[in-house]
Structures are given as C-alpha cells and as structure tokens.
Symmetry: C2
Subunit: 246 residues, 2 copies
DNA sequence: CGTACTCTTGACCATATTCAAGAGACGTGG
DNA sequence: CCACGTCTCTTGAATATGGTCAAGAGTACG
C-alpha cells in the first residue's frame, strides 16, 4: 500500500541512531526533495520481483526483509538481508528489469524515491554521489564476505557467521533490542541463505544449540553468545563506521 | 613496476572496442586528468593485499587477474575476475585497509589513479559519478549471479556457468579472440572460484569433456560449445549494454 | 477441531573431500 | 643435453559431508 509521506525526513527516527552518519544539510535537502511517499507492506510481502521493472528506489524505514534470486526449478538463493536504513534498487541502475526479488520479513515501511529524477541529481548535488558510492561499496563487501562463507566455510561455520551477522546488523540498526532474531525468520530462510537444505540447517543448529550458543524458540532464535559465534565462524565482525542515510 | 603513462587516454586501445561506451568529452577529460601512471605487473603478481592499505585505484588496461579473500587457515575464495577495462579499488572506498587481495593471471598493465583526488572529483564532475555507480551496480550483479551459482547450482552447472562466463567476458573485452581461456587459469583457480576441491573440479571437467563441451589442453581450456554450456548452467548470458570506461 | 506450517529426527543415498600415487610439461642448473 | 625438482593434471579408493525421503510433534489460525 502506497501512502503519502507520514515521516518527514527532518524527523526521520533513524537519524537518532548513532550507527547512521548525521545528515549534512545538503543530503537532507536532497532526500527530502526526492521522497515521493511511503510503501507499507505486510509480512512476507513481495516488494520487487525478478524480471519485472521498477520505477522506484527505496529506503527501508521500518521492519526488515531480504533480496533473493531464483532458478527456474524453484531453487532459491537469498543474497542479502535488508535492515532499516538500507537503500535498495541501486543494484539495477542499469537494466530495465530487476535481477532479483525482494520480500519483507514482518510488516515494513519503505520510503519511495523516483528512479529517473535520482539519476539527474547526482549530476548536480555534490556529496550525494559519494554517499551512494559508499553504500554500494559496503553492500559489495557484505556480499563478498557472504560469498567467502558459502564457498569456503563449513556448514557449521557458515551458520554461526550468519546468525552473528544478523544479530549485529539487527542491533546496529535498531531493528532488535535484545538478543533474539524475530520469529519471522525461519530455518528455510537460513537454509536458502547458506546454500544448505532445511534438514541440514536444522541439524547444524542443533550443534550450535548443544554448545549453548543459540536457542531456537517460538519467539525466534536467541543468540546466547555472539562473541563465541563470531570466533567459531572465523569472522571479525561488522565494520563500525556509520552508514550514510539516504 | 610503476612507470610513466605510456598509453594516453585519448589513444586508449580499449576505446576501439564497441563493448565499451564511447568516452564523453567530460569523462575523457576526467580520466586523463586523473591518470597518474601505469603499473606493469608480471604473471601471478600480487597487486593488492587483504589487510594492507592502498592509496590507488586502478583500471586494468591489459591482461587479466582476479580478486579473492582468504581465511586464516589458507582456504581461499575467488570473488571475481578482472578483465580489461575493469575498474578496481571501489570496493574499499570506505575502509583504511583492503578487504580482499588481487593477483594477475599473466602479465598485466594497470592505469593508476589517486584515491584521494578521486573523491574530490565526483563532487564536481557531472556524469562521472553516474558512471561509477553504474560500474558498481554491474559488479554487484555479477557477484550475485556468482552467489546463486555457488549456493544453489550443482557442481556441474556451476562449472559450466563459470567457463561460459569467463569466455563471454574474455571475448567481450578483447582479452581472447578464439574459444580458448589462457593456460594461466588453472583448475585450482576454478576450484577456488566454485567452492569445490581441485579433485572434484577435475572430475566435473571430465564430465564436460565427455560431453564434448570443453577440452583441457596445455594451451588452456578450449570452450567447444558455449551455447550448450550456458543452457546446462541455466544461465542467460551477459547483459549486452556497453560498459563505461574510466 | 481440522489444516497448514515449521521444526525435529532417523535412515538411506548422493555428492564432494581427502589421501595417495602417477603421468606429463616445464624450467633450472650441472 | 640430460637429470632433477616443481607444478599441474588425472585417477582410484576410502571417508566425510550434506541431501532426500519420510514421519511425527508442536503451534498457530481459522
């Protein structure tokens, strides 16, 4: 459902979070002038579809989701997760049609931007281009760590990495406050992210459970020891630098 | 080895290749003003090192190479291949240190740019930012297809995909003219790209060989039937749009 | 109170890894 | 020019890792 802007950029709740870089006057003016409205999506809603076109770019304001690609026979690979403040649509500045799909995990609100007028802007507005390039570079780094994970980490390491990663991002972006990942994230999602079957994902989680690193409850996956998880995953954690917010 | 500029951008041999977008006056002026010299590297040379800093950005002018990440115990994942015209270094606009390493496959020449002055530029120069964002978006798309491949394609499909991909890119960028990948690409490289062991990569190549899709010779891997390879890989091929050249 | 999900487990099978050994090409130094 | 070491490719055998199938339990929802 598309609505008028209810959250004006000046009062964007994400700005209070120190994980995000403070708005420059310039960037605030840009964002404000570009925001076209809000997209309010229900749980599990399909926001963008592989093969379809989209005239919009989005920033996720509330909730979370994921991007994925599919093969014709239904095999699915989750490429990345979308957290509050994440900017999506860049990935297809080029093609007419999307190369991946996007779905929400739980209800979500996106800020809507217009793809065409965006392009015109970084011709003139100074710092904006740099911020967008920064975001693209960060996105690429995350994808590359993920690639290393699927290609070279064992199932156990991979699962540990993913859970630690999701917790860290969730906390940094204010999506979650405790140590629990929302129950909307199922083992099927983990499996499709890790390149494993659900059954094997479940058995791997059991090992993590036996070592008391995680607990899978009906309210979601509780991460009992993120530090050990990161160590088992051979992962050094997220970079701390604040993200630009667009 | 770093040398003075021997190939001025006005006479850049890559410009003759229709796979690259024609230089706008603006972009040519920019590139010309930014080029600081050339880096001439031997075969298998380490150009950038994970964990180290680099004050430079590069465009590959001649030859080819690859980017990779490593785990402490030596496991290695090749993230992507670098072909003529590819622009590297963007991936770390942010961090002080590189998050991946780069090596050449055979002798190579890179154009050198200065990271700091680059940043200043897209504040002022109009179209440049757009071109850089375009390149970043394309790079991300390729990584995502690769992620789908490792996560969800079978070893056979994956190998078919990679070989077809390398051939297509090699031909488009003028690196290769026939149907043969240079012999500097070993089965170990393929294995490290595909997330497989060398032994299994070899056995998978045997299947492709038995179906007469490829032939592995001392002069390199000959791709006998790229179309069938793409079909077996369930891959639709490279997008045709010309790449900006920086 | 049934139906649809998700999670869980066991048994069996497929896929991929490791180990080991040998063949062929290449380069180096005697 | 040949002997030797190194590197890559190749193959087989034993083993480990992960997938598929099947069935049941718990929960959520209408």
């Amino acid at each position: 459902m598309i609505t008028e802007t209810r959250v004006p950029c000046q009062q964007c709740p994400l700005r209070k979070n120190p994980s995000f870089a403070p708005f420059s006057k310039e960037l605030l003016a840009f964002t404000l002038s570009q925001k076209r409205g809000e997209l309010r999506a229900g749980s599990g809603a399909s926001v963008l579809q592989e093969g379809a076109g989209s005239p919009h770019l989005y920033t996720l304001l509330e909730g979370w989701g994921y991007r994925y690609k599919s093969l014709a026979d239904g095999r699915r690979q989750i490429l990345s997760y979308i957290f509050p403040g994440d900017f999506i649509g860049l990935q297809s500045t080029l093609a007419e049609t999307m190369e991946h799909s996007v779905r929400t995990l739980g209800p979500a609100v996106f800020c809507i931007f217009d793809r065409k007028s965006f392009r015109a802007i970084y011709r003139s507005a100074g710092d904006v281009a740099h911020q967008i390039i920064w975001l693209a570079a960060r996105e690429e780094q995350v994808l590359e760590e993920h690639l290393l994970s699927i290609g070279r980490r064992t199932a156990y390491e991979r699962t540990a990495y993913l859970l630690a990663f999701l917790l860290d991002r969730g906390k940094a972006t204010g999506l979650i406050s405790g140590d629990r990942l929302p129950a909307s994230l199922t083992q099927q999602h983990l499996a499709d992210t890790l390149g494993l079957s659900v059954v094997h994902t479940n058995k791997t989680l059991r090992k993590l459970r036996e070592r008391r690193l995680v607990a899978w409850t009906t309210e979601g996956c509780r991460i009992s020891d993120a530090a050990v998880l990161r160590r088992e995953a051979k992962w050094k954690g997220l970079p701390g630098a604040p993200r630009p917010l667009i």
